[in-house]
């Protein structure tokens, strides 16, 4: 039994038919070609499949595809607009926060969201916020550094805009 759903994916309208038992992650990866979100643990323990649902981070491996009907989904592929990287993506590259890269999309989605909510987080607040994302390569050191750096960059940019006004 196929169910037609319509939703906004990375800013564009998508209409697709899904099975009732189909997971959002499988829909994204296999039907829509967005392989940024990763399958790692399958049971909500790692954060590698994190996407934004109406702007809030959720786990796409525990979300039924039918449940995004009428909503807005953003994946890692949808963060960079017009090929302009986000401050978090830039900071991940500059601070060597990327090693194997499997956890990276999940972390970037999370930190991007954190900085929207809290433009000046402490190291402790960053660690608290990414506690549901596992990384086995970096020891989290450079991920936290990248988050701090991106926050600083964003604050600088915002203040510049303010001055212009």
């Amino acid at each position: 039994m196929k169910i037609p759903i319509h939703f906004i994916l990375n800013g564009e309208e998508v209409s697709v038919e899904v099975e009732p038992n189909e997971l959002l992650l499988n829909l994204l990866r296999e039907k829509l070609g967005l392989t940024g979100p990763k399958y790692v643990c399958g049971i909500g323990e790692c954060g590698a499949c994190t996407v934004l649902l109406d702007g809030e981070p959720v786990l796409s491996c525990l979300t039924l595809a039918v449940d995004v009907d009428g909503h807005e989904v953003t994946t890692i592929e949808g963060l960079a607009k017009d090929n302009e990287l986000t401050a978090v993506q830039k900071a991940f590259i500059e601070e060597a926060a990327v090693q194997c890269g499997y956890c990276t999309p999940g972390f970037i989605i999370m930190i991007d969201k954190l900085l929207k909510e809290n433009p000046n987080p402490t190291e402790e607040e960053i660690r608290e916020y990414i506690r549901g994302n596992l990384c086995r390569c970096t020891g989290y050191v450079n991920i936290v550094k990248a988050a701090l750096k991106a926050a600083e960059e964003l604050r600088k940019n915002t203040s510049l805009i303010k001055i212009k006004k």
Binding site: C46, E77, R136, C137, G139, Y140, V141
Partner: protein, 783 residues
Amino acid sequence: MSSSEDPYALMEKWLKAKEFLVVGKGVRRADALEKAMGQARFVEDFYMPGHMLFIKQVLSTEPHARILGIDASKALEVPSVEGVFTAKDIPGENQVGYALPDQPLIAEGKVRFAGELVALVAAKDFDKAIEAAEKVKIMYDPLPYVLDPLEAMERKDILVHGEVGSNIAFRTKVRKGDIEEGFSKSDVIVENEYRTHHQDHVYLETEGALALPELGDRLTVISAGQYPHLVRAIVARVVGLPESNIKVIIPYMGGGFGGKDDEGPLVAAKAALIAKLTGKPSFLMYTRDESMLMHPKREATIIKYKSGASRDGKLQAIEVKIIHDTGAYSNRGPFILWRATVHASGPYRVPHAKVDGYCIYTNKVYQGSYRGFGNPSVQFAAEAQMDSLARKLGIDPVELRLKNLLRPGDLTITGQQLNESVGVADAVAKLAKVSEWSSKIKAYSSSNGRYRRGIGIGVAWHGISTSRGVPDWSNALVKIEKDGSVSVHTGIVEMGQGSPVSSHRQIASEILGAPLDVVTVDFGTTDAPDTGATHASRGTSIGAIGVYVAAAKLRERLNKLASELLGTSPDEIEIKDGKAYLRSNPEKYISWKELIKEAYSRGVEMSATGYFFLPKGKFNDEAGQGYAYPAFSYVAMVAEVEVDTYTGKVRVLRIWPALAAGRIINPTQVEGQVEGAAVQGMGYVLMEQFVFDNKGRILNPNLTDYVVPTALDAPEIMRPVYVEDIFKYGPFGAKGVGEMALIPAPAAIANAVSNALGVQVTKLPLTPENVYFLIKEKMGKKA
């Protein structure tokens, strides 16, 4: 080959380099952009559902049983199922043992652990494959089984491998001097039994492979793996095709840590087998629970260790018995045991040593390669012994170590003289200073109350390359294309460590004088010459020599060509900043692009391989003496902890690492390795453990109950202390880093906990529960 292209001569020449363009700098990795954008492709990202077969594995539920029959009838009724395949379908050899020929790819006749592969099911739809796999019925005749290695050693009635006649799969030994004499000269003797446990790699990406059959009995396999040429060899053996018919590509990998060196070839062989049998593209991706049930683990060990020292703090003798629970198959167990055996002393001068190693079969998941390769466990034991000795002698633990650490000219316990590249004592002295060791150890030794702080040190060594005379080589193909861009082709894989995407580019750029951004590395491919594996910390050391030598050959040719064009001698040519010029007159130059154009028009070959064979000595297995490794990397770590004595919870507050690992090619990437390894080591010590049931089955093959550190568990990790003790057979003197920081982590953290509690820790892991009962047992209950 002209004499100017002799690899040893070229290595010697470039080892003398004093000033660098890009080496030693924190150059950014070439893959960071695509990874940060979510565009990097890993094995699973090549899967196209519906267009290829999906493979599901059927695993044994019994620890030891004869397979009476396999009933696939119900499975074959599931729509879209292509077939159910077992050992009898294998066209080539059903033999995948690395060290000993004891391991089938698919169980044949009997199963030896719960989790062993019994059958493969392939279907067009993944959920049908899974459904069908659940319907495959295996009829077992259960056999008695043995789980405890000490029991297994003694038993002759229960044999994991009947044909061996014993459960002892392999033995190793080292003999030096006369331990009786050594212990008689000792004023203090300490003797302890240590236990360490399994660890799962928990690479975020599980094992996967996609096999694509092509015309003419050729196969392309996109697979996990740490050594494409080994993956190819195993695939060829299983499917019965010549290696030259098989192409292996190892794309970006979501972590390896040794586990994919063992399991990579197996997952590839399974996918290739189905592709060969069906003629269809076939894809296999382990679920997390399959990965955790099946792939080899860090060895679980029992180590009995006796050490003696004289009153002045000089080590006199050690007697060590190392027992590795190798599980159902030996896999790389003999190699792992070998490494543990020759490293048993730690990086110390010990005049009299007797070390015996035993690799024991049991009916459990088998052990395998994991960052440190048998060394973290034995360094933990050796370093706990050092602390016990220090306590008995009344000497500060760092001081005791400094009295005994190896220095240039010293002999190891295998009698190998280390003449160069021995920077460990310098590193430890510097580490003690930066970590404020002396003041902290004094302050913490007398700590009491509920929360107690402690500080501990672990010092370790790690032999470079394969052990003994086992051949090791490097190679790569470097090409300068007509437009001046440079392609490097190597078998070294990219699994997060960054060697192909950072240090290889730096090495090629440095030697050629080509701008960094024109260098691209094609990694993890059998299209490159056999480079050896990406393991044993060799990605940027021996593994990169191929790039180093190939680039050096091209540089000789370029210097010669440029000197002819500019009317000077080759030695006068400098190449950098996009041009070749006269050292004495930079105004006289030719641009990089022009130079390459000239090379193509004048018949100068712009491609070269960089074959290098590592010179080695011999080890006498009978005598337990001889040459062990071309050199050693050294690492030390200080850890500071806080223990809640009411709950047993340990927090690692801070870690100070130190490396004597030769030239640091890329400090940023090295720090990444050190930080990651330290946290992986901390996870191993504090929280990671498997729970087995009474049939040897893993009860927690998932990330809910096999817990690994989160960002909130990770300690502060200080910038490493580097002592660049140059090694002649490494690119610019590099010895290797990847495994290093994990090796002393168990020792450093356990010794810090011991320091906090005033009790010597001898058993891992230090879970809150284990620490709580340790406190209760040794100190009496406080709460």
